[in-house]
């Protein structure tokens, strides 16, 4: 069955017709051409397809597109500023060598973003717990944890700047 849905995708309203059995991953990659979100296992084990729905990390391979109706979806394409300035997490991944083949990277970054939005200064253990559902087959986990830690510093610094600015 087909249905019309409307949702916010990377800040822009999308209104389109979808099939009931489409996953959000299929909609993003095959219908909307947003191939930054990857398909790994297709069964919720690897996290390569992670996107944020209403700021929560989900496996888009197991999430029906129909369920995105009325919600806010963020994919890796929506993370950098429109002028191309990288998000602090993206910059930290580059600077810390946290990218090898790159296949797990979009999912890793989005899981990390969901974590930092909720908990701006996580411990190493909290980072590991939050990223447990994102597998890196290049096994470059330490660099990834380091990058998230580095970005969390910047999250803190940025909120500290905001506080000091508002205090002035």
């Amino acid at each position: 069955m087909a249905r019309r849905i409307s949702f916010l995708l990377n800040g822009e309203v999308q209104e389109l017709e979808i099939e009931d059995h489409w996953t959000l991953l299929y909609l993003l990659r095959e219908e909307l051409g947003l191939t930054g979100t990857k398909e790994g296992c297709g069964s919720g084990e690897c996290g390569a397809c992670t996107v944020l729905v209403d700021n929560k990390a989900v496996n888009s391979c197991l999430y029906l597109a129909a369920e995105a109706d009325g919600k806010e979806v963020l994919t890796i394409e929506g993370l950098a500023s429109p002028d191309g300035t990288l998000h602090p997490l993206q910059r930290a991944f580059v600077e810390n060598g946290a990218i090898q083949c790159g296949f797990c990277t979009p999912g890793m970054i989005l899981s990390a973003k969901a974590l930092l939005d909720e908990n701006p200064s996580p411990t190493e253990e909290e980072i590991r717990h939050a990223l447990a559902g994102n597998l890196c087959r290049c096994t470059g986990y330490l660099q990834i944890f380091r990058a998230v830690k580095a970005a969390s510093g910047q999250f803190e610094k940025r909120s500290a700047e905001v506080i000091s600015r508002s205090a002035e």
């Binding site: 059995h21 996953t23 297709g42 990390a57 496996n59 129909a66 974590l115 717990h129 447990a132 559902g133």
Partner: protein, 294 residues
């Protein structure tokens, strides 16, 4: 994936009547993290998926403070909601122990506790703490509502007492006695993204002198085709002072009660040994928690 129609009823009655009219051609779905995998593998081939996600109020976690306080968990509460709940963390740490290690954050954000129970896999981490807490479940279907002990909800691997069109709507946890500690351990070879080799939940309530055990509950997962309680070990503990030696003996009794088997994840003899070790270890953690309530 094979085509299906996705139906999103707004009330329980509507969901049940949809299920009645489509019968075998329809299938309930909540978070979908399990159903979707089975659809992709072709293990499920429904023409209709009846979603429970839009049913009002079934995702609530409610708790009345005090001795009469019962904990009520809506079946549609996600594992993540339980993991993040301060009530669960402080008063029902056994549930927190379990839900914070089910799947990944991505799975926990979507998967529901009701779905975990209804799947009835022997390794369901959500079930053991609730069985250990003497939880009941409320079911609603074409013939009305009924309530039963969660322990009796499971019939075998993948099998429950649910009849056609019936929905698990709520989990009811009776009030805790004062001076109670509870703990769960998911035991496996890896730290994350794994099904357990064994799941062990223990609850101990102590007397006013904080010495003798007045109530003991031991729940075991993957130790039998369904979640079980180690009744003999519980009886052994009640009335005794739960020293480490006594807890070790309780572990031995629980190991003898378990009906572990060999599987790809582990051998029966090893599981039996680990029941012994983990019952004791969780018992000690219960004592710590009972003695220093947050």
């Amino acid at each position: 994936m094979r085509k299906f129609s996705y139906l999103t009823p707004r009330s329980l009655d509507e969901a049940i009547s949809l299920m009645e009219s489509y019968g075998e051609r329809a299938r309930y779905v909540a978070g979908g993290t399990d159903v979707m995998v089975k659809l992709k593998e072709g293990k499920l081939r429904p023409d209709y998926l009846v979603s429970l996600r839009r049913l009002p109020n079934l995702d609530r976690i409610m708790w009345e403070q005090g001795p009469s306080g019962e904990l009520r968990i809506g079946a549609l509460a996600t594992h993540r909601a339980l993991e993040s709940s301060a009530t669960i963390r402080w008063h029902y740490p056994i549930v927190h122990d379990a839900v914070s290690n089910i799947g990944s954050v991505q799975i926990r954000n979507v998967a529901t506790i009701g779905g975990n129970l209804v799947n009835a896999v022997p390794s369901a981490d959500g079930a053991i703490p609730l069985v250990t807490l003497d939880a009941k479940v409320r079911l609603q279907g074409p013939k009305g509502a009924r309530e039963m002990d969660l322990l009796h909800f499971f019939l075998g691997p993948g099998q429950t007492v649910l009849e056609g069109g019936e929905v698990l709507t709520q989990i009811l946890v009776p009030p805790l006695l004062p001076r109670t500690g509870s703990a769960y351990v998911k035991f496996g070879r890896r730290e994350a993204m794994e099904l357990p080799l064994l799941g062990v939940g223990v609850l101990l309530s102590l007397d006013e002198e904080m010495k003798r055990c007045v109530k003991a509950r031991i729940g075991l997962g993957v130790a039998a085709p369904t979640p079980i309680r180690a009744f003999n070990a519980e009886r052994f503990l009640e009335g005794r002072e739960p020293t480490e030696a006594v807890l070790r003996e309780a572990g031995q009794i629980a190991a003898e009660e378990s009906r572990v088997r060999d599987s790809v994840r582990g051998a029966a003899w090893y599981r039996r040994e680990m029941v012994k070790v983990l019952v004791c270890r969780m018992g000690l953690r219960c004592l710590e928690r009972a003695r220093s309530p947050h």
